[in-house]
Amino acid sequence: MERLFLLLALLSLVLILTVLRSLRQERIRVEHSVSWLAGGFVLLSLSLFPGLLGSFADWLGLAGAPLAILLLALVVFVGIFYRQSRAISELKDMNITLTQRLAIVEFELRSRDETGS
């Protein structure tokens, strides 16, 4: 069991450090890093305080801590993916609006050039 918590701690640290490195290199925006960092810290905290995980598993009636880890990781990442999908949808809407606006502005500029006004 200890190995499992050690592995979880390591993976959480790798996740946190990777996101921080990407932030430093300006490859990810701060607002998009928040959910990843929060997810990483939740998993790290649970691996450092295994008692918490045990209590959580008991409360849910799960067979053991590994199942609780799986469930929590699933919840955390589903939340993150949902946020990402919303961000992608918003970006797509903005992209469509910008594309249409650019085409209309170009059309109007060309029309002005043609009429010489």
Binding site: Q100, I104, E106, F107, S111
Partner: protein
């Protein structure tokens, strides 16, 4: 009373083989009707062909899909002050000689949109079996939602009033827009009418909706229809 300013809108994507003939035929039938081709970032010579046939071209810098492409045309038409827009496909399936009948119906009725539908008495070109099944399915689904039958809800041959133009320039489905557009209209209590027309085979090219895509089409449009029903109307 001033006659309404009407624009003929033709969305096109990789239609270099057909677009010049479609524009030419429309200009021949309709005289000095302004014709706007909205090019959805074609990879072929659609823009050059359309311009050579006498159309103005609104060229999108990125491929948006049919809904985004048509909406760009509606936005431009609305901003330029057009009162009505007639939309036909860029592949030659719609006969421009039917356009005056669509506009007459638009003027004579209180409808915001008139759809050119396949005439059962002279069906002309028949679509694939899968598409006919899809149409039959959506006719069944739409009947209670619209409160009236829609005989050819996938038709892209439409005339819209300035009220509908205003609505569509703000909200218009992105992909496979025809069926969802009917629900968008219904949600605002707008009306539509139908005019039977003879459909023709494509002049060139093939439909982008393949057998496999038909399944995606049905799921996508079905979801879009119900999302439009659930969505709060903001206009």
């Amino acid at each position: 009373m001033k006659p309404p300013r009407v624009l003929l809108l033709i969305p096109a994507y990789n239609e270099e083989a057909a677009i010049a003939r479609v524009v030419g035929e429309a200009r021949e039938v309709l005289g000095d009707f302004p014709v706007l081709v909205v090019d959805d970032c074609s990879r072929d010579a659609t823009v050059a062909q359309a311009e050579s046939a006498g159309a103005r071209v609104l060229a999108l810098p990125c491929h948006l899909g049919l809904g985004g492409c048509v909406q760009a045309g509606y936005k431009l038409a609305y901003e330029l002050g057009f009162d009505e827009v007639v939309r036909i496909d860029g592949d030659g399936q719609h006969d421009p000689r039917d356009i005056p009948r669509l506009l007459e119906t638009l003027h004579a009725s209180d409808a915001e949109m008139v759809i050119g539908v396949r005439d059962p008495a002279q069906p002309g070109f028949q679509t694939s079996l899968i598409r006919r099944l899809g149409i039959a399915f959506f006719k069944l689904i739409l009947r209670p939602i619209l409160g009236r039958p829609a005989s050819d809800p996938t038709s892209g041959f439409v005339a819209v009033s300035r009220r509908a133009l205003h609505l569509f320039s703000r909200t218009f489905p992105l992909e496979y827009p025809e069926i969802e557009a009917l629900v968008v209209l219904q949600r605002r209590r707008f009306h539509f009418e139908e005019v039977p027309c003879r459909m023709r085979p494509r002049l060139a090219g093939r439909s982008s909706i393949t057998a496999l895509k038909s399944v995606y089409y049905v799921v996508h449009v079905l979801l879009g229809v119900f999302v439009n029903i659930l969505r709060r109307t903001r206009i």
